[in-house]
């Protein structure tokens, strides 16, 4: 079974913020809500500066879904984690549970307190009628339904950000690391490496 995944190649990411703006402009997201963001560490330190674009990782066992009191999350068969804004009460538990800081809250409720949650949809819209106006308003474009890849990855200036079926993403990753020949494929990028403390 295919699962949709993002992968950001830190060897290619140049912190141009293209993905961030592509996402915001495509889905007309209000200022202050960043479904995707770019993180740079060690800025200016020789040989150590690295940038990475992060958003919802569309976990196989999404903790946001586990923690949501109103059960507004659902996972599609292709692994995309989506949520129902009509159900969301904006409590923010998903943000605490998310390892990646994906859920975002704009100021839209009464007296400007935080409104309902917004997060990366892998450009797959939401539970509203596919490609309807309602869907666009709530979740932005549904590019998956149109047979297109998410905006951020397709507009990535250096093709650092890759999105698509996990096995395809894996192939690209393998190809690139093999070409670079620096054994990066032996250094897995992810929580497992992190947990091993290496």
């Amino acid at each position: 079974m295919s699962r949709m995944k993002f992968y950001c190649d830190d060897y290619r990411c140049i912190d141009c913020n293209g993905c961030v703006v592509a996402c915001k402009e495509a889905h007309e997201i209000p200022v202050g809500v960043n479904r995707r963001r770019v993180i740079t560490i060690n800025e200016g330190i020789e040989g150590k500066q690295k940038s990475l674009s992060v958003a919802c990782m569309h976990c196989s066992d999404a903790p946001c879904q586990k923690v949501c009191p109103t059960d507004c999350f659902y996972i599609r068969t292709d692994g995309i984690v989506l949520h129902d804004k009509d159900k969301c009460i904006g409590c923010g538990y998903c943000l605490y549970a998310c390892p990646f800081g994906a859920p975002q809250f704009g100021h839209e409720g009464i007296f400007g307190v935080k409104g309902v949650m917004d997060k990366c949809t892998f450009c797959a819209g939401g539970p509203d009628e596919t490609l309807s106006e309602n869907e666009f308003e709530h979740y932005g474009q549904n590019r998956i339904a149109e047979g297109k890849i998410p905006m951020c990855a397709s507009m990535c200036s250096t093709k650092a950000l890759i999105a698509g079926d996990a096995s395809e993403v894996d192939k690209i990753y393998e190809y690139r690391t093999a070409k670079r020949g620096d054994n990066t494929s032996l250094k897995p990028y992810g929580w497992e490496a992190y947990n091993n403390g290496k």
Binding site: E25, D71, R76, A124, L131, M155, C156, S157, K159
Partner: protein, 186 residues
């Protein structure tokens, strides 16, 4: 989607306890156990559909830097509705930096200059095109007469098309001056 699936999750001790013990997203094995009881909602039947039926895809070029990235603009009824990805452009291959990704803002922007404006006695005033053009032309002519054509400085732009550039240079020549320059100088 099934509405009560989280209740089912809560009630299925096995799934929940194993989740609690493993903490979070660490063990792949546990994930497999977990996902057995996980609610999976089938995607609605998706077929390739157009988000903007009947829209026209206009190919154009990004207006920011000199790389010349391709842009595909989806235009419906004279309105630029969406910026599409020019995946097949031979230089950019669909890529954009944040400025290029934001190109559609040129037509969405709310703080564009909308009409000819003149500063008069310290305040901005809206005027008509004809009035503005007449007034500027008359003043240019007066200055040319009084001080000669070289009293006018023109600055062209690296942002306009070649055709317009060519005509800006030609305009300066017809104005009788070489006082014309643009951003190549910086």
């Amino acid at each position: 989607m099934s509405p009560r699936n989280s209740t089912e999750l809560l009630n299925s001790k096995m799934g929940r306890r194993s989740f609690l013990k493993m903490g979070a997203l660490t063990s792949v094995g546990a994930v497999a156990v977990c996902s057995a009881s996980e609610p999976i909602v089938k995607a609605t039947p998706q077929q390739l559909k157009e988000a903007y039926p009947g829209s026209k895809k206009v190919k154009t070029i990004c207006t920011h830097c000199s790389v010349g990235c391709g842009i595909i603009a989806e235009v419906k009824d004279g309105v630029w509705v969406r910026q599409e990805v020019a995946q097949e452009h031979p230089v950019s291959l669909g890529g954009h930096c944040c400025k290029g990704a934001d190109l559609i803002d040129k037509v969405r922007s709310t703080n564009r200059l909308r009409y000819p404006t003149v500063k008069k006695d310290g305040v901005w005033e809206r005027i008509g095109w004809d009035e503005a053009l007449d007034s500027v032309s008359a003043q240019i002519q007066a200055l040319q007469k009084k001080y000669g054509p070289d009293s006018i400085m023109m600055l062209g732009s690296a942002k306009v098309s070649n055709e317009q550039s060519y005509y800006i240079r030609k305009f300066a020549a017809f104005m009788g001056t070489n006082n014309i320059d643009h951003q190549a100088r910086i």
